[in-house]
Assembly symmetry: C2
Homo-oligomer: 271 residues x 2
């Protein structure tokens, strides 16, 4: 396959590709949400894993960001740099996995770039929409709010086809005071939410995926569950894990002891 | 620098970064344009080149796509995977070059992703806007139209800071029948325009950058000049290089001989 033939094949299935840019009609009374996420061989996936799952996860990472703001995905751009080992079968299966998830959530593949590199590297940009001014943010948590997660944590190694929590996110619109998805581990991501909201947090019970450890539930990356806050008495679904407090912004305790931040940092292993 | 500190530093300069997604207000009566382009070490740049130029070109590639459709850029997402050799100085200079061009064209840096890889790889997504239904397309060239380029070709090796032709593109709105930018060489890109428009083309005089060869002007990639068509008598600026004809779609002659396609294909050197 060369670049034009890959583009032609995708164009047959996705009418938006063809010009220098994808064209999207703008609508009044909505805000647009944009997010981009890498999926990199040796960092996010291995070449011997199922390529359908690589494609699924590459899109799921960005859809999860849309879910975290209560949005509905509209389209995606997929930039893919291929390495020599990734042959036609791998490429076809990668797109099969990605497009299956895209179709499920009515997300059009609108374009992207194709190139080559020493590793397979994919960057997926997703555009979503949400009613004007209604997007869930990180900065609205207030002391006294309950902290929730949308499901048990620590299981991402066992969930190759984790589902972005898009419906769950939409149900939080107007109810949650703050929301984000857990992509780098609860400890690191909750700290970010607390810093944005200028609050601290006390955690007690953490729901754990069967077979995972407490450490994995607290610090493992890429759970893609939603982490959110709501005032007591507001019904939001999810599992309560703690409470928002006054105090040093970003300080987090778990069972009354300070919680270290051991979540995933993409630069922690840089030379 | 770790991920949070890079994000914090960028956020100080660019107020949009912070939540899971960038939020952009939608406007009525406009279409939005989206494009993404890779800049990959060893493919698009070398590590021993000036990092400011790498940042400039990484954004210029996508801005050129916006120019090709007559759009005005609004914001960009920059996904950057860093290799161990790229230290703090390189990163800072890369963003300096990119942001200088972004500021010149009022393009906000709204987000992106950060990770690491064996090569430095950047993927820049740009969103632009254009009056509803007015975007320049590739598919409107008609037999009898004149073919133009916005400037002399073949010089990209000597133009590390090539300027995207944004103003030129906007002036073509309502005047050009088809337009695209030359990113993979005139021969390959004109063929794409002819295929989209279902026409053939005859080239005669090609304007050549001083010091470049005819071969470079015909086949070299990444000129970032605009290639466009307009009916005779419509004043559009630019340099006339040939005429649109009936005949086998995509067939191109240069000085009455068939023109081979030797432009850059990102997969031509795949194993």
């Amino acid at each position: 396959m060369n670049e034009d033939s890959i583009v032609r094949r995708l164009r047959r299935r996705n009418r938006l590709i063809g010009d220098d840019c994808a064209i999207i009609a703008s609508r009044a009374n909505e805000d647009l949400l944009f997010t981009a996420d890498f999926s990199i061989e040796e960092v996010h996936f291995r070449r011997d894993g199922p390529p359908e799952n690589v494609g699924h996860r590459a899109l799921a990472r960005s859809l999860s960001d849309i879910a975290a703001m209560g949005g509905t995905p509209r389209f995606c751009l997929v930039s893919l740099a291929l390495a020599g080992w990734a042959g036609d079968k791998w490429i076809a299966a990668f797109y099969r996995g990605l497009l299956k998830l895209a179709n499920k959530h009515k997300t059009a593949l609108a374009g992207g770039d194709l190139s080559h590199a020493n590793q397979v590297i994919c960057d997926v940009m997703v555009c979503g929409s949400v009613a004007k001014g209604q997007a869930l943010r990180r900065d609205g948590a207030r002391p006294g709010d309950i902290i929730y997660v949308s499901g048990p944590l620590g299981g991402w190694r066992h969930k190759p086809l984790a589902e972005p929590r898009l419906e769950f996110g939409r149900r939080l619109l107007g109810n949650a005071t703050a929301c984000m998805d857990i992509s780098d581990g609860l400890s690191r991501d909750l700290r970010r939410l607390c810093l944005a909201s200028n609050v601290s947090a006390a955690l007690d019970a953490i729901p754990i995926v069967k077979g995972a450890s407490v450490e994995e539930a607290l610090h493992d990356g890429e759970d893609y569950e939603l982490l959110f806050t709501a005032p007591p008495g507001v019904r939001v679904g999810g599992i309560a894990i703690g409470i928002v407090k006054k105090g040093r912004p970003g300080r987090i305790t778990y069972e009354n002891r300070p919680l270290p931040q051991l979540g995933y940092d993409h630069f922690s292993n840089r030379r």
